[in-house]
């Protein structure tokens, strides 16, 4: 697969490009409140409390125009939650998400809708992300028609254009989602997102449900569209291998926190954080991607009850006393390379764990 994925083309991006999205100290908590019986039991002394999951915990992240940022982490670490907040369909519990420097939560009516449309999501499951009761033309064309991006008269031509751009034959537009293959359905989802002319796409595990051969085609489509439409991506995956070929920058999450952030080549050449290193040692080249995480030792701790200090300490081969009590800060270890590990504070460390 990796052989056929085209390398990203160098763009005018990086430190000088406009900041498209700024995630500032964003947290998201999910509370599972006690029901009535539980409350009574708790009053009577039962060890029950409202349970809170810190799905995303004080994340800072900046995405510049034209960038492809890969977001990687194990299942349940909060990738999708962060993606939803960035796309604007879930409000953060704390912190702010700035779109071109502006907080979208203050907007109303037409402006709010226009801002929403700028960021679109491509989902993991190509079947459940399409309404099974609508024809492809309705799926793709509903929102642009509603928002006045096309007219009733121009509807058909507009939909045709979106389908062609996503590599679909417009002749199939009167069909229903169940009549397409997985890869084609994912293209329908892409056409639907692009039909509202967004600048930014959040791809949440967008190829994970597809066959490996189809994955490469869809990834290529993403890269082609990036060039044609000057798109910016947040590309979420649990698989470092998928992200390697697409991303300019990789962000690694562990139990709600960003633990490392660096340009893609740096992550693969000089990963700083022990968690990233264990992920890397688990990435097989080309084949057997499914096993990617089986080799990171130990169980993923419950997000309901994460370990104190550095969340990674129960599984970390380098853990020492400080890790169990103090949360490490996300600090710069090289220009553009940040990591959250106490080892970086040790003298004579040189950025590599001993």
């Amino acid at each position: 697969m990796s052989a056929t994925v085209e390398a990203p083309v160098a763009f005018a991006r990086g430190a000088d490009a406009e900041k498209l999205i700024e995630v500032v100290g964003v947290s998201r908590r999910f509370a599972k409140r006690l029901d009535f019986a539980g409350k009574i039991a708790a009053k009577l002394g039962a060890p029950l409390r409202d349970e809170v999951v810190h799905a995303v915990d004080k994340v800072d992240l900046t995405i510049r125009r034209g960038e492809v940022v890969g977001l990687v982490g194990e299942s349940g670490c909060g990738k999708s939650t962060l993606g939803r907040m960035v796309a604007g369909i879930m409000p953060p519990s704390d912190g702010a998400i700035l779109w071109k420097g502006q907080d979208r939560t203050g907007l109303h009516g037409k402006e709010a809708r226009a801002a929403m449309l700028q960021a679109q999501m491509i989902f993991q499951d190509p079947m459940s992300s399409l309404n099974p009761r609508l024809k492809v033309a309705e799926i793709i064309g509903e929102a642009p028609l509603f928002h006045g991006l096309t007219t009733r008269a121009g509807f058909s031509a507009y939909v045709d254009e979106q389908m062609r751009r996503a590599g679909l034959d417009p002749a199939f537009k009167a069909r229903y989602p169940h009549q397409f293959s997985g890869g084609q359905r994912q293209r329908i989802g892409i056409a639907r997102a692009l039909a509202v002319q967004p600048e930014f796409l959040v791809c949440d595990e967008s190829v994970a449900a597809l066959d490996v051969s189809i994955q490469a085609q869809v990834l290529n489509l993403f890269m082609r569209l990036r060039q044609e439409l000057n798109l910016t991506y947040l590309f979420i995956s649990h698989d470092l291998g998928v992200v390697e070929h697409l991303s300019d920058r990789v962000v690694i999450m562990y139990l709600g926190r960003v633990v490392e952030e660096a340009p893609t080549e740096t992550v693969f050449a000089r990963a700083n954080h022990p968690y990233t290193q264990s992920l890397l040692s688990a990435v097989p080249k080309i084949e057997a991607r499914k096993k990617a995480f089986a080799t990171v030792k130990g169980e993923i701790p419950s997000p309901l009850n994460p370990p104190a200090g550095c969340h990674f300490h129960p599984r970390c081969p380098h853990a020492f006393d400080r890790c169990r009590v103090e949360i490490p800060a996300l600090q710069e270890v090289a220009p553009g390379h940040r990591s959250r590990c106490h080892l970086n504070d040790l003298p004579n460390h040189g950025g590599q764990p001993v």
């Binding site: 056929t4 085209e6 939803r84 796309a87 604007g88 369909i89 709010a112 809708r113 929403m116 449309l117 960021a119 679109q120 999501m121 989902f123 993991q124 499951d125 459940s128 992300s129 399409l130 309404n131 099974p132 009761r133 509903e142 929102a143 509603f146 928002h147 590599g167 679909l168 034959d169 199939f172 009167a174 069909r175 229903y176 169940h178 009549q179 397409f180 293959s181 084609q184 293209r187 989802g189 639907r192 997102a193 509202v196 051969s213 490469a216 085609q217 290529n220 489509l221 082609r224």
Partner: protein
């Protein structure tokens, strides 16, 4: 790019446009039993609709009834020798065949009317509970629990004892006792459906909540609602029959199937079986055919049960 353009091209697959509805229809008629049940039920509905045109007698017009013809056996001629009572007569000289045809009318109107009204009430509340969540959800679902924890017949009897007899009151009582089934079903489905990614996609596309609920969420919650609705029509018909049998339903001058059965009940042991028997058969066939259609609908509409 050129290396992968071939792979990018869509592959022609399905031979013709297959709408979800067409697929559903062809799957439904694969079952001979369900098809048969649907035919039987359609005949029953037609008979009920056209009862005034095809019945030998208007059983609700007391002037047409002759008390002298009371409790005649099936196949007897009437006193004036102008017609044959194919299914006999009841104690008031009412032609049973006509009585059953008109009784079906009442049963179906009460059953379908209460089921549709209960579905509207229940589905709206269920959808509201699922979408609003929180306190609204809690209040609605507690009401549902309360309603479902009472024996249906008991609640219906209490309501009718309070409201008094009459077709409208029976319909009202049935709505009150049945809405909870719809609310529970719709809430359950809507909670599952609203977590699907097409709902998130619609939110991301900045479509208004109203449109998302009615155009995306509700149509996908319809299948279980239709199944429950079908079964509940049968239940409502049976319940109406029970209430009428117990003397709390429709007025005695316009007997429904349940009341016809009740009228003949005292003559069962004296050999005059037909007064209760034929209305009973009509009730049974109606309820069984609706249930067979409903069961098969559930199989066809529930993708998880498919092989």
């Amino acid at each position: 790019m050129s290396a992968t353009t071939a792979g990018d091209a869509p592959v022609a697959k399905a031979p013709r446009v297959e709408t979800p509805f067409r697929r559903f229809v062809s799957e439904f008629f694969e079952s001979k039993i369900a098809t048969g049940a649907l035919v039987v039920f359609s005949v029953i509905v037609l008979v009920a609709i056209f009862a005034p045109l095809i019945s030998p007698q208007n059983p609700y017009d007391l002037a047409q009834l002759d008390i002298m013809d009371g409790r005649l056996e099936p196949g007897s001629r009437n006193g004036a020798d102008t017609m044959t009572y194919w299914l006999g007569t009841d104690d008031q000289g009412r032609d049973m065949l006509s009585g059953i045809m008109y009784g079906l009318r009442i049963s179906l109107i009460v059953g379908a009317g209460s089921a549709i009204a209960a579905a509207l009430v229940g589905a709206s509340l269920g959808m509201l509970a699922a979408y609003a969540g929180g306190r609204t959800d809690t209040v609605i679902m507690r009401l549902v629990d309360l309603q479902l924890s009472f024996p249906t017949i008991l609640s219906a009897l209490m309501i009718l004892a309070f409201l008094g007899k009459g077709i409208m009151n029976v319909v009202l009582a049935l709505i009150v006792v049945e809405w909870a089934y719809y609310a529970r079903t719709v809430r359950g489905t809507a909670l599952v459906e609203r977590r699907r990614e097409y709902i998130e996609a619609a939110q991301c596309l900045a479509l208004p909540t109203r449109r998302i609920i009615f155009r995306h969420l509700l149509p996908n919650c319809m299948p279980p609602l239709i199944v429950v609705g079908t079964i509940q029509i049968a239940r409502a018909i049976a319940l109406e029959a029970t209430l009428s049998f117990l003397g709390l339903g429709v007025p005695i001058t316009e007997p429904s199937l349940g009341l016809l059965i009740a009228n003949g009940y005292e003559y069962m042991l004296s050999g005059k079986y037909w007064i209760s028997f034929y209305p009973g058969i009509a009730l049974l066939v109606t309820i069984v055919s609706i249930n067979l259609v409903g069961d098969h609908l559930r199989d066809v509409l529930n993708p998880r049960l498919k092989k």
